[in-house]
């Protein structure tokens, strides 16, 4: 048996010089199919939903013992509990300010009018009047939807997390920008934190910080700080060396160089980093509903699990609106200095008095909303919201009645034609066969280092005890990634070749990337019901934009002269695409595969909420059922392992194609 498993790996090693990689991979797959036919259903390592392994029980015991020691163990008493307390106080403070009843009053300190006034003022002061209007309209809309308090809870958590993220992230980013050594130490951690699907942060954190807003903020912080660190460092690093040298040559101290040259010159980039941090935080805060974070995410999740599409849609819409408002305002803020300078100084002398007047007006609204009930509680019953929910419901009903022919055909053909055979192949093969295939394909595609990573990851994956569920998730992930890559190449090539297409499509892709992944599930749940396919479609929609953009940029980066030369030689368009542009953009293709896989994986697991089952479901079940906690943690670990394995192999392949 072992000899058989070794065979493909050996061919892999030999192939590096002699046989093309494609042939080797094909040979591995054929060998797999043949062995599958013989050995089907043996040694599959399946585990029923309620069954546990020793590891899972050990995690459960660990959880129990931590729970018991939480107030006696010094590590908890003086470290984790302290952190939780500080974060909890911060969150409670912000919540009292805008979302939760506070100080014996039935309403928060600042009511809706004050929040709208302040948000409008801040958007105007840092951005421009257009985004200020957008912000005011967006926030009023939350009230009309009947989701004011939920929206404010989400906002409170997001702001708290962003505040702490920036407090930690910007100094670290500056440090990483200045010190090569620190940057080198930091980069793998940041890579790791950003590769992980949002989902998996939650489980281990609950172990230390319990379920609730504090854990949610800490999970969000872990997810949202990396972009701030990375982009700040990037901003500092991309200040031209000559400028720094010029400052040195004039005798600037390190401090003067930092304060007068590096920071002002990277300001714009840093604000872009803040934008990324806010968007990441919003996405995470909605997902943190799984560990009892209050807000819109919770409304969506509760509605999703009871298949209440109307309510989920209404709350999902609020998340979308909040994402758009936050994104537009921060983007406008990053462009603001530039724009102000270009527009000349015509309005400059009016700006200061106007700012003061606006500030006073915002304070007045805040005071009114503190004092009067009409300005504190959003008036009306949120009828707009229930209308939206009703409309969404009726559209869903209509779609189910009239489109079910189409949607069911699409769903069933993909499920039966692609997903099921693939899933059967992965889950019904003996575990050692799949493991050997994964490792050897990894080694062939990514080289021996990637092969070693694959061995380690597969080994640990076996250890988690959720092998079969991992294979189910893997099947969905690979199917969705294939679809994503297909669409990515089609649309990416089109965008790369036609500036017109790029101009029309790109804004849509940018907007799609801003959305928290959560909200994608809602419309597809309506169309396709609670199935694996829904998760695959949501993953497709989530991952396609980034893939398309990377491929389009890769195609665009092919030197014009090369294309011109190929045209001059009489190539047809098809020949140019297949023989010149795609081969020259192949490192973009591998990078797109990398990103596509990571995005798809994170969405496929979220799909556990809507019937995709497998690892995602294990994690969710772990949060809600104490006896499954350990299994959920193990499933989270399995997701991490899958992610690391995909990432390492495709990264290695990308490095190889660049060389």
């Amino acid at each position: 048996m072992a000899a058989v498993a070794d065979a493909p790996a050996k061919t892999g090693a030999l192939s590096l010089r002699a046989v093309p990689r494609k042939v080797v991979i094909a040979a591995i797959l054929v060998a797999w199919l043949v062995l599958f036919a013989v050995l089907r259903g043996k040694q599959t390592m399946t585990l029923a939903a309620a069954d546990l392994t020793g590891l899972h029980r050990w995690f459960n015991d660990l959880n129990d013992s931590i729970g018991a020691d939480r107030n006696s163990n010094p590590l908890f008493l003086y470290f984790f509990n302290e952190i939780r307390l500080v974060i909890d106080n911060l969150v409670t403070f912000v919540q009292n300010l805008i979302s939760q009843p506070s100080g014996g009053r039935p309403v928060p300190t600042i009511g809706w009018l004050g929040v709208v006034g302040i948000v409008g003022y801040v958007s105007w002061a840092f951005g421009n009047w257009r985004v200020a209007l957008l912000a005011v309209a967006g926030f009023t809309f939350f009230g009309l939807q009947g989701l004011w308090q939920e929206s404010m809870d989400t906002l409170a958590l997001t702001l708290s997390a962003v505040f702490v993220s920036l407090l930690i992230g910007i100094p670290l980013g500056i440090w990483a920008g200045l010190s090569d050594r620190f940057n080198k130490v930091m980069t793998p951690f940041l890579d790791f934190m950003q590769t992980m699907p949002t989902f998996v942060y939650l489980a281990p954190l609950t172990l230390f910080f319990l379920i609730g807003p504090a854990s949610a903020v800490i999970a969000t912080l872990v997810y949202a700080a990396p972009p701030a660190i990375r982009i700040t460092a990037h901003g500092i690093r991309s200040v031209p060396a000559t400028t720094v040298e010029a400052a040195d040559s004039l005798g600037a101290t390190r401090r003067q160089t930092l304060v007068k040259v590096l920071l002002p010159m990277s300001k714009r980039t840093v604000v872009m980093g803040i934008n990324q941090t806010i968007m990441a935080a919003l996405a995470m805060v909605t997902i943190a509903a799984l560990i009892a974070a209050p807000g819109l995410g919770k409304t969506v999740m509760v509605a999703l699990t009871s298949l209440d599409v109307g309510t989920a849609f209404n709350a999902g819409l609020a998340i979308v609106v909040m994402a758009i408002v936050l994104d537009r305002v921060t983007t406008a803020a990053s462009g603001r200095a530039e724009a102000a300078r270009r527009s000349g100084n015509r309005f400059a002398k009016w700006r200061k008095p106007l700012l003061v007047a606006g500030g006073v007006a915002a304070l007045v609204t805040a005071y009114l909303s503190h004092t009067y009930v009409w300005a504190a509680e959003f008036p009306g019953e949120g009828t707009t919201g229930s209308n939206i929910a009703k409309a969404a419901d009726s559209v869903t009903t209509w779609a189910q009645d009239n489109l079910s022919g189409v949607t069911n055909t699409v769903r069933d053909s993909v499920t039966n034609g692609l997903l099921n055979p693939f899933q059967t192949l992965l889950t019904d093969s003996p575990w050692w066969l799949v493991a050997a295939v994964l490792v050897s394909v990894g080694a062939v595609v990514g080289g021996w280092r990637a092969g070693v990573t694959a061995v380690v990851c597969v080994g640990l994956l076996i250890g988690t005890g959720v092998w079969s569920d991992a294979m189910t998730t893997l099947a969905s992930t690979i199917v969705a990634t294939l679809l994503v890559m297909l669409a990515g190449v089609l649309v990416g090539v089109w965008m790369g070749r036609s500036p017109m297409a790029d101009r029309f499509i790109r804004p849509g892709l940018d907007a799609a990337q801003v959305m928290p992944p959560f909200v994608y599930l809602v419309p597809f749940l309506a169309l396709f019901g609670a199935t694996r396919f829904t998760a695959i479609v949501a993953a497709f929609v989530y991952a396609a934009p980034v893939t398309m953009k990377i491929i389009a940029d890769g195609i665009r980066a092919v030197p014009e002269t090369t294309v011109e030369a190929a045209t001059a030689a009489g190539s047809s368009t098809w020949q140019i695409v297949t023989k010149v542009q795609l081969p020259m953009a192949r490192s973009a293709l591998t990078l797109a595969t990398n990103q596509g896989l990571i995005y798809v994986l994170s969405m496929v697991v979220v799909g556990g909420l809507v019937g995709a089952g497998a690892l995602g479901y294990d994690v969710v079940a772990g949060f809600s059922q104490g006896e499954l906690y350990g299994k959920g943690l193990a499933a989270g670990l399995a997701i991490v392992l899958l992610g690391v394995m995909f990432d390492r192999i495709t990264q290695a392949a990308a490095r190889r194609t660049r060389a």
């Binding site: 031209p240 000559t242 400028t243 720094v244 040298e245 010029a246 400052a247 040195d248 040559s249 004039l250 005798g251 600037a252 101290t253 003067q256 007068k260 040259v261 002002p264 010159m265 300001k267 200095a337 300078r341």
Partner: protein, 338 residues
């Protein structure tokens, strides 16, 4: 003014060992890379710059000239040797003293300007004054003077990216002049500019040199620029000095084939002086022709020599050094003598 002695800059893992080791320092660039993994950008360079002089360092890209000029104020730390300025070795200065030297004694103009895009022209020019702690009113006044000196009056409130390349470099020049340094260092300041603007800027430097009379060390890869601006020229190749002398010395007596090749395209009549082409007087020569000095440029002497029907005598301090006839002049003008 500045005295550079045995200066070395070696990049690489065992950089410190190279200058001291006779075997390693004798190796060619390629061999050094193969054997020690090091690159010697500047190898054993020595020269003196006199007060008020324009000293040009010339070489092709990769010859080490930009590294050399950065070693002078330790923007790049030299590996070995000495840079003596006002009687002390700059290499011994501590961080504070070095900063002080950079703030008050030296300033530098860069090829890619190195301006601060978020500051207006005036604030760019006064930046050096600001970091040494000068008050706002005073530094603005001084910056305004310098802005006018370099011909940027009216643009002081513009941002750098609103200016053309030539004007941006004027800002760089003004920034360097604002601190009233003793020495100006130029690192290929005009290489990134269009030829016409480059000529303008060269004339600007000559004008400023006349007006403010600073000592200048000027790096370039352009021989005509070097000949136009330089009182003396140092030619570098692979980090080593090849020749150091005035323009006519380089053209008239190239030290080796490398320099000869380098100067071969130079219009010799514009550079060579009579002392380089005169021949000793023989008894047959008529010695009653007109007289000229030995440092007269050939181009300027041409008319006089050709107009006279007898050879021109080259005379210095009443002493006859040699004579120049039609033949010698025509050989230079026609470019035959290479």
């Amino acid at each position: 003014m500045i005295s550079v002695r045995g200066l070395w800059k070696v990049f690489g893992p065992k950089a410190d060992k190279v200058p001291g080791s006779p075997e390693l320092s004798a190796l060619s660039r390629r061999e050094l890379m193969d054997q020690a993994g090091c690159t010697a950008a500047v190898r054993d360079v020595s020269f003196d710059v006199s007060p008020g002089e324009v000293f040009v360092v010339m070489g092709l890209s990769g010859s080490g000239k930009s590294t050399l000029v950065r070693c002078l104020t330790r923007l790049i730390e030299p590996t070995a040797g000495a840079v003596v300025f006002e009687g002390e070795d700059i290499r011994d200065a501590d961080a504070k003293h070095l900063r002080d030297l950079r703030r008050r004694k030296f300033s530098m103009v860069f090829q890619h300007f190195g301006l601060l895009p978020h500051r207006r022209v005036l604030d760019n020019v006064s930046y050096g004054l600001e970091i040494r702690g000068m008050g706002k009113a005073e530094r603005t006044k001084r910056a305004m003077e310098v802005v006018e000196l370099v011909g940027l009056a009216g643009y002081e409130n513009s941002y750098p990216d609103q200016l053309s390349g030539g004007m941006q470099q004027r800002v760089g020049l003004a920034r360097a002049l604002a601190g009233d340094p003793d020495v100006l260092l130029f690192d290929e300041p005009f290489s990134a500019l269009d030829p016409l603007i480059r000529r303008d800027m060269q004339n600007e430097v000559i004008r400023l040199h006349h007006e403010v009379g600073k000592t200048m060390v000027f790096i370039t890869h352009d021989l005509s620029e070097a000949l136009k601006l330089g009182d003396r020229i140092l030619i570098m190749r692979d980090g080593k000095m090849v020749q150091c002398g005035t323009g006519d010395e380089l053209v008239g007596a190239p030290a080796d084939d490398y320099v000869r090749e380098f100067v071969s395209e130079v219009p010799r009549a514009d550079v060579l002086t009579l002392k380089w082409i005169m021949r000793p007087a023989t008894p047959e020569d008529h010695l009653d022709g007109p007289e000229l000095g030995p440092d007269v440029v050939v181009r300027e002497a041409t008319r006089a020599v050709l107009a006279a029907d007898k050879p021109v005598k080259v005379v210095k301090d009443g002493q006859l050094l040699g004579i120049v006839g039609d033949e010698e002049i025509l050989a230079v003008i026609a470019g035959g003598d290479r």
